[in-house]
């Protein structure tokens, strides 16, 4: 089994799809010679040439708009928005165009577009370069939203996103690019809409996304030493949501914590909490706890950034609250 970093896993999925399928190409700011601001597409220009690895002007609206057009014409473009903060500049194209065409055309038009983007705190990039905005897109019918947390997952899910006939918002986390793990020899597509249980447990389910999956696993280890058995579940795709796995897990543990780096208020966790109370109300033995960033623009100052976004300790405290062992 080859060991790949999260960054290499993204590149591997893109490259394999492009080798296999001429309709797949990539487009974005500085993705060609420079290899992208995060180095994800480094070397791909050499293999696939400038027609399929295209630098674009600094216009997110144009990047996504061009991607939509190509997709409607039968291509499977993968466009990159350098920071998810900048999706704001492409909202018109994503929300009003990409998400709507298939429905508004009565199915005559499909938009098999993948919009890759990345973000996240932990390296002091400030309020405009580290937001986690995935929840915005979960609110838009017509879009699929993926947020992978491991090299294996990001590779398998990106493949499925590329071959999905609907527009997919594909979120990567800045601080995960360097993590490595052994991945399957052959790329195994991971179906969109399928959660992954990272760790089985009996007392509380932690539903975590992105970086918080790793924080949750750390917290789960701590909790275990306190005698609390924690199940860690990563939905991996936020839209569609694998409610079946989520509800089954909570029905088993009777308690639920949901954790993400994005702001807690109106975050993805609120939706999870709602689903859980709706579908597993009679199985809940404690209120669903939410862990997320404090409601503040992200500060530059590293200590303040650290204070605002959640870490393993915050997850652990929430776990303790649900099992009634808060200090």
């Amino acid at each position: 089994m080859p060991e790949l970093s999260y960054r290499e896993a993204v590149r591997d999925a893109l490259s394999q799809a492009m080798r296999e399928d001429e309709d797949v190409f990539i487009m974005g700011e500085d993705i060609a010679e420079m290899g992208g601001s995060m180095g994800v597409t480094a070397g791909m220009l050499d293999e696939f040439g400038p027609d399929r690895v295209r630098n674009t002007p600094i216009s997110e609206m144009a990047i996504v708009g061009a991607g939509i057009g190509a997709a409607m014409q039968g291509m499977r473009p993968v466009v990159e928005v350098m920071y998810e903060d900048f999706t704001t500049l492409a909202m018109e194209q994503i929300v009003n165009q990409a998400a709507k065409h298939r429905s508004m055309s009565g199915g005559q038009v499909k938009v098999p577009l993948t919009i890759r983007t990345q973000g996240g705190a932990g390296w002091s990039p400030g309020a405009q370069h580290a937001q986690q905005v995935e929840a915005w897109f979960v609110h838009v019918p017509g879009l699929k939203v993926v947020f992978a947390s491991t090299p294996t997952d990001v590779r398998g899910l990106l493949w499925s996103a590329i071959y999905d006939d609907n527009p997919v918002m594909f979120f990567e986390h800045r601080t995960l690019y360097g993590i490595k793990e052994d991945v399957p020899d052959e790329l195994e597509p991971i179906p969109i809409g399928q959660a992954r249980v990272h760790r089985e447990g009996e007392d509380v389910t932690v539903v975590a996304t992105g970086r918080l999956v790793h924080e949750a696993l750390t917290a789960a280890g701590e909790a275990e030493s306190e005698g609390v058995s924690v199940e860690v579940l990563d939905p991996r795709t936020l839209q569609p949501l694998d409610e079946k796995s989520l509800v089954a897990s909570v029905k088993k543990t009777n308690r639920c914590v949901v954790a993400h780096e994005a702001v807690r208020r109106m975050g993805f966790g609120a939706e999870v909490a709602a689903v859980v109370q709706e579908k597993a109300f009679d199985w809940l033995d404690a209120p669903v706890e939410r862990v997320g960033a404090k409601f503040a623009p992200l500060p530059f100052a590293p200590v303040m950034e650290e204070y605002v976004v959640p870490h393993a300790g915050d997850v652990l405290e929430a776990i303790r609250r649900t099992v009634g062992r808060a200090a």
């Binding site: 199985w283 033995d285 009634g324």
Partner: protein
């Protein structure tokens, strides 16, 4: 929002507890899970943890006995005003009561104390998790009867499962293995108090065995020749001890802080087991009574003891006690002093033992006496002299003449 600290029910059947002391003062910061106060129940003294974090706004009950469910303190936010605390446990709201079976009545006609579970909120809403509610519904457990152990007193699934495992309130037959609880009767409390007092006294024990051959012969003759209640070994012992006490008056005594009191007559108490517990009725001036009179007095006292018809006077002014467990084949035992008396004798069974008699081994009915003395009042030598006399009189009752 201030939360009231209520006296928890820490064990099945617990009706009240005694607050020993508070580990926090009013105004102190309290974290959930921190020891808040010491509570004395009939079983143990333990520290009780705070169920909420905040500032200890008010201690409603400093110390003393409190019924379960009574508000004893209030925890709230800094600067928050402590609400007035009702003296009574919160009454169960009408909605809850309507659904309950009629309250059990006490003998005096007042309704028996009904549990006020902590999870019962103002307005009649029971605070329970959805899972706890579902399990309670499925298994027919009444949530209103439970005490929640979750955050802020919420009933969680574990509470329902525990309650189902050990149904408390229902007058259902007690399943095998269940702990039976017997409420303390006054007599039990008195026994406990007096024996605990006695345990403080410096005592010593002396032991001697008596050959009961002649007592046995005497008893046979008396039973043959006299009407009325059959004389027993205890009756002989009563007479013998009374006689010996008159010869060793320092044993027929009582210690007080000012003086040692020596009594002019031997009022011999007999430890009697009754269904209600141990009582010690007194045969007065036994040294002046014949064996037959003692048997009659003893028979009357024992009968009335078992029927719980003793008068207060029957139990007073004893100067010495005999405790006989010989009928249970106990060989010998040590009795706890019966204060304020200075001595008690514990009597074992008469059993055949091989004993040397005139250089030969003989089998004789032997009885072992173990006497306990209050060393403050009696020294070893006079006590030994008393026991020696008892032994001699048992072995040769004619010496009493």
């Amino acid at each position: 929002m201030a939360s009231e600290v209520k006296l928890p029910r820490l064990g099945q059947g617990m009706e009240s507890g005694t607050i020993v002391k508070w580990l926090k003062s009013e105004g102190d910061r309290v974290e959930k899970g921190e020891p808040l106060y010491e509570l004395d129940t009939d079983k143990v003294t333990q520290e009780v943890e705070a169920e909420a974090s905040g500032v200890l706004l008010k201690i409603a009950v400093d110390e003393g006995e409190v019924p379960v469910g009574r508000t004893i303190a209030v925890i709230g936010e800094e600067g928050e005003e402590a609400p007035t605390v009702s003296e009574e446990p919160e009454p169960a709201p009408a909605r809850e009561e309507a659904s309950q079976t009629p309250s059990p009545q006490q003998e005096d006609g007042r309704p028996a104390e009904v549990e006020r579970p902590a999870a019962l909120q103002a307005g009649g809403r029971v605070k329970a998790s959805p899972l706890a509610r579902r399990i309670a519904r499925e298994r027919g457990v009444d949530l209103a009867s439970l005490r929640g152990t979750g955050p802020e007193g919420r009933i969680v699934a574990e509470d329902v499962e525990r309650a189902e495992a050990a149904p408390a309130a229902a007058p259902a037959p007690v399943p095998a293995g269940e702990v039976e609880r017997r409420e303390l009767t006054n007599i039990r409390k008195t026994i406990a108090r007096r024996l605990t007092e006695a345990w403080q006294i410096p005592v010593f024990q002396l032991q001697a065995s008596a050959d009961m051959t002649r007592v046995n012969a005497l008893l046979i003759r008396v039973r043959e020749s006299e009407e009325g209640p059959k004389a027993t070994v205890t009756d002989v012992l009563t007479k013998v001890c009374a006689t010996a006490l008159m010869r060793h008056r320092e044993v027929n005594a009582q210690w007080t802080d000012e003086a040692i009191l020596l009594f002019p007559t031997a009022n011999v108490g007999l430890a009697v087991a009754t269904p209600q517990g141990l009582v010690v009725p007194v045969v007065r001036s036994a040294e002046r009574l014949s064996l037959v009179q003692i048997a009659a007095a003893r028979s009357d006292l024992v009968t009335r003891s078992r029927e719980a018809k003793l008068q207060r006077a029957d139990l007073e002014e004893g100067t010495f006690t005999i405790s006989n467990l010989g009928m249970f084949q106990v060989e010998r035992f040590t009795a706890v002093l019966n204060p304020p008396q200075a001595a008690i004798v514990a009597v074992g069974a008469i059993e055949e033992r091989a004993v040397p008699v005139d250089g030969e081994i003989a089998v004789r009915p032997m009885m072992t006496l173990t006497a306990t003395f209050d060393h403050r009042a009696v020294d070893g030598a006079p006590a030994a002299g008393f026991l020696q006399t008892v032994k001699e009189l048992l072995e040769e009752p004619g010496l009493m003449l």
